[in-house]
């Protein structure tokens, strides 16, 4: 079962899907999925973003990034300490006791020895779940206690042994089998420790009334080192009691909320105590926050907003952010929750976050304009959310145009202005504007794709459409992990593909002549153009359009071009097909369609026998799945006659059998016509080899492989190729 997605840093993907195969969790090729749109991360590195280089701010940002963006847009900045805090990956706490139980067992072994007791920090509940009965802190404390007692009383002293035995009972105490240590009379230190152990054992045994009484007694005992903790521990009893109530109990049951409120009262009283020890202060404050998620999530949320909007949030930024998110979650299920009064900074942040959370603003009104006038952040949000033609649009555009280049809002506003402006221009001017924007070096890849989409939509001819048809790869996804795509180190070119509809147009809507136009288009990146040329060449060769083969051969990569040169001039059609097949068998990436994603296709320019981990060549028609082919999509300028011809080409190609069958038929036909030709044995050997590629198997393919094998062994017994062909499968 797949784990949850995580965003991590990996090595960059190289162009066209070649990936180093890591040690396999799944034994297979790691297919790369190409992503072409905004992936929701800032355009700049995290450190630069935290420092104020915002790039284009988008609603797809995480809430934390939106908060950071807001601070910079408003001119508040983010202090150094907060910047460091946001750059640190948050710790993940799954709530369990982790390795602490093991540490306790090791510590107790030094005192008691012998076999360690079975220790299970979880308690099973009735609905096939469990809860953490003993958290990590309890074990951590017990380990510290053993260390402390061994130093003051000696590791092997009888009293320390008694303490450890009592602690064993505490950790073993469960509701079904309470294990309450016996009270002790002396010495004093042991007596008061034992009182605490008794209270703890009652707590773990879910005897909350008794536990509360015991902790209350401790809170009154000035001789007990646990005295300051008494109120805190009583609060723990209330909370645990509340959480153990059935999740699906009576919704009208207010008892859990009352318990939480009791806990909150105790903790708030405790926090008012003068000279509270530091660790207790910290524990009580954290626990109170936890409780407040149940009693007043709205107020908690607003306090978090206030902290995030504070002049210098410092190291509190991350915890405040976590609190904001967790409080908002609890708010969804809270019946009612009071809110705190927010100052203007926090209120502004709240509105900003809400604006990005809701759909485009549709109601006209002056409140948005007046907000945008006073707040650069709201100006950015308004222009992002406002539908075209809104009453305030012109005024907001005018405001945005005046923002200086040094402002953090500038990139976002310029981006918005570009799109708003386009709406007022005639097509010719739109084209010029988009092409000019595409020359910019500062735009992120997703933005370039959006511009290309726009420009492509204005094309009226294939020549005009082609340079803007491929999309840049923004990021790649491998095994649910996403990573930005980087330019090729050698060529500096950004990886790009004909994706989506554009890929379908190339594959389904264009005639051979039109594919030639695309392949020769000067504005098209070389790798992309080369792939189109290869596919067009394959189509022409298999459809026997030799005049087109002649025109396309010079457009192939050099390794292919060398082999392909002159094939179309062979007079004998059997030999012509044979030579074409000899070439094809050396390049398992050759096929009739371009790739519109990285997938698991072989890289077309790799000469090899075949690739056992990837898709090789092409499969034939599947009679079970065959349905009539339809004409491909029309981007707006293709003539119906051309679409019809493209469809006819596809229908003819759909009848071509699987590659290996095609190869075998060509090789056998040539062998029959030219039995003494020196090329035959090697070709027959290669045919048999290709049938081992793990795709498109069929009885016919097996039979043909066997025929080639038998012919090889019967007629060319002495050939070195025969010796190399030991099996037909």
């Amino acid at each position: 079962m797949r784990r949850m997605q995580r965003w991590t840093l990996l090595a960059a993907a190289t162009a066209m899907g070649l990936m180093a195969v890591r040690e396999a969790v799944a034994c297979g090729p790691y297919a790369t999925t190409a992503l072409f749109t905004d992936i929701g991360t800032p355009d700049t590195e995290p450190k630069a973003f935290a420092a104020g280089q915002l790039g284009i701010v988008r609603p797809t940002f995480s809430k934390e990034n939106l908060v950071i963006a807001y601070r910079h847009l408003e001119g508040w900045g983010l202090d150094d300490e907060a910047q460091v805090a946001v750059a640190t990956a948050p710790e993940v706490d799954n709530g369990g006791p982790g390795p602490e139980p093991d540490r306790w067992l090791k510590a107790r072994a030094a005192v008691v020895g012998g076999e360690a007791p079975k220790l299970d920090p979880f308690t099973q509940l009735k609905e096939f779940n469990s809860y953490v009965r003993i958290p990590a802190g309890a074990f951590t404390h017990a380990v510290s206690k053993v260390d402390e007692l061994s130093k003051t009383h000696g590791l092997k002293s009888a009293e320390v042994l008694e303490w450890v035995r009592g602690q064993d009972q505490v950790f073993a105490s469960i509701a079904a089998a309470p294990a309450i240590p016996a009270a002790l009379k002396g010495p004093d230190w042991l007596r008061v420790e034992r009182q605490y152990q008794i209270a703890a054992a009652l707590f773990y045994a879910e005897k909350f009334d008794d536990a509360r009484k015991a902790f209350y007694a401790i809170s009154l005992d000035k001789n007990s080192p646990w005295q300051p903790w008494g109120a805190y521990l009583q609060a723990r009893c209330w909370v645990r009691e509340a959480t153990l109530r059935p999740l699906h109990g009576d919704p009208a049951d207010k008892a859990p909320l009352r318990s939480y409120r009791q806990a909150q009262t105790l903790l708030e009283g405790l926090l008012k105590t003068v000279d509270l020890p530091g660790d207790l202060q910290e524990a009580a404050a954290a626990y109170r926050d936890l409780v407040r998620h149940q009693t007043e999530p709205g107020r908690l949320r607003d306090e978090a907003l206030a902290q995030l909007a504070a002049p210098k949030p410092g190291a509190d930024f991350r915890p405040a952010m976590a609190r904001l998110l967790s409080a908002e979650k609890c708010l969804k299920s809270a019946l009612a929750s009071p809110s705190a009064r927010l100052d203007s900074r926090a209120e502004g942040l709240r509105i900003w976050l809400e604006v990005f959370d809701v759909k485009a603003i549709t109601a006209p009104g002056t409140s948005l304009l007046s907000e945008a006038k006073r707040s650069p952040a709201m100006l950015v949000a308004a222009l992002d959310r406002l539908p075209p033609g809104h009453a305030d649009e012109k005024a907001l555009v005018a405001l945005a145009a005046k923002v200086p280049a040094a402002s953090p809002a500038y990139p976002s506003l310029q981006w918005q202005l570009l799109w708003r402006e386009l709406g007022f221009l005639a097509p010719a001017a739109q084209k010029a504007r988009l092409e000019s924007a595409l020359q910019r070096k500062d735009l992120p890849v997703w933005a370039l794709n959006r511009l290309r989409n726009g420009r492509r939509g204005l094309a009226v001819t294939l020549e005009e459409w082609t340079p803007f048809a491929p999309s840049f790869v923004v990021a790649t996804e491998v095994e649910n992990e996403v990573e930005p795509a980087l330019p090729d180190k050698t060529t500096g070119l950004r990886p790009q593909l004909f994706a989506g509809v554009e890929g379908t147009v190339i594959n389904q809507s264009l005639t051979l002549d039109q594919l030639l136009v695309v392949a020769k288009q000067p504005g098209l990146a070389k790798p992309v153009a080369a792939e189109v040329a290869r596919c067009a060449w394959m189509r022409a060769m298999v459809l026997e359009r030799m005049d087109r083969v002649h025109t396309l051969t010079p457009l192939l990569e050099s390794a292919l071009q060398e082999r392909a040169s002159g094939i179309e001039n062979l007079v004998d059609p059997v030999e012509r097909r044979f030579e074409a097949v000899r070439l094809m068998m050396g390049f398992p990436g050759l096929r009739f369609d371009i790739g519109t994603d990285y997938t698991t296709r072989v890289n077309s320019t790799d000469p090899k026998e075949f690739d056992s981990l990837r898709d090789n060549w092409w499969c034939g028609p599947d009679p079970e799945k065959a349905k009539p082919l339809e004409a491909g999509p029309n981007p707006g300028f293709l003539k119906s006659a051309d679409l019809q011809q493209a469809l006819l080409d596809r229908q003819a190609l759909a009848k071509v059998p699987a590659a290996q069958i095609y190869f075998a038929q060509a090789a056998l036909a040539f062998a029959e016509a030219h039995p003494d030709d020196a090329r035959v044995p090697e070709a027959l050997h290669r045919v048999v080899a290709t049938t081992r590629a793990p795709m498109c198997g069929s009885a016919e393919m097996t039979a043909l492989s066997k025929r080639c094998f038998n012919l090889l062994h019967k007629r060319y017994a002495k050939s070195e190729w025969t010796a190399k062909t030991k099996y037909y499968f």
């Binding site: 040690e23 034994c27 390795p99 049938t691």
Partner: protein, 268 residues
């Protein structure tokens, strides 16, 4: 490291089975199996199973005669030679006579690879058996074992089988790629290996293409059941000609009466 080159004999002929009682099993492993030889231990479970993962789930609406539940009961994280147990914290509500299978997921910490030992193996087995509550009729292990972890996994399953009640079924999940391209599971002491044909990540095009070409899973153990995602229908359901295979359904969202109904309609 790349897995072994797939032999020609793995290519699947079309599965023809108009009433054939048993398929042929060639020495090279080609199986034209008809009727995948279901283990009798699994008879206690219906043909449709729902996976209930770590979130609150209310499945009281299901018919126990038709639908069973494979619920995540715990996640065991192995760090080196140490085992950290995280039992299910979210409630699961089922009708009283529901057929339940307790699923234990095993993960290995990235920072500290698995350090196999008999003690670790026993600790895992102890943890699995600890979660066999009243009403649980079977065990399933979910472990995406790497190549280097397979010997430990096989050893673990053997020990678990040895210590389990003889009549209680032992199931395992299997990556779809194992089930197509690899046969390391064939000798494991499990009653079924459920190929997970959903959320396949990088393997998705590879697996979907094979399913689309009507290639069945290679291992007989993997032909007793299929794992599917409710939101990710397959181009071809292996074994559909027989309709004998158990189907496990995973949903990314909590189960609702509607999604329960959808699962039953599609796979019941």
């Amino acid at each position: 490291m790349p897995f072994p080159r797939i032999q020609n004999h793995v290519r699947q002929a079309a599965v023809r089975c108009a009433g054939l009682s048993l398929g042929l099993s060639l020495g090279l492993g080609l199986a034209l199996a008809c009727g995948p030889g279901e283990s009798a231990r699994m008879n206690s479970f219906p043909k449709l199973m729902l996976w209930a993962w770590e979130r609150p789930e209310d499945l009281r609406g299901l018919d126990p005669a038709k639908v069973g539940v494979a619920y995540l009961c715990q996640t065991l994280t192995v760090q080196g030679d140490r085992l950290i147990r995280a039992p299910r914290l979210q409630p699961l509500r089922v009708p009283p006579s529901a057929k339940l299978m307790a699923v234990t997921r095993i993960e290995v910490g990235r920072a500290t690879p698995l350090a196999a030992s008999p003690a670790l193996r026993d600790a895992v087995v102890d943890a699995v058996l600890h979660e066999l509550r009243s009403g649980v009729l079977g065990v399933q292990i979910d472990f995406d074992a790497k190549l280097s972890e397979r010997p430990f996994y096989a050893e673990l399953l053997r020990e678990l089988r040895r210590r389990m009640e003889p009549k209680m079924p032992l199931s395992m999940t299997a990556l779809a790629s194992w089930s197509f391209s690899d046969d390391w599971i064939k000798d494991l002491p499990v009653d079924e290996a459920v190929p997970m044909c959903f959320d396949m990540g990088a393997d998705t095009p590879f697996i979907l293409k094979r399913l689309g070409a009507h290639h069945d899973f290679r291992s007989p153990l993997a032909r007793r059941s299929t794992g599917v995602g409710l939101q990710q229908p397959l181009p071809w359901m292996p074994g559909r000609l027989f309709e004998q295979r158990r189907v496990y359904v995973f949903s990314h969202e909590p189960w609702t009466p509607k999604t329960l109904h959808d699962a039953l309609q599609r796979y019941g």
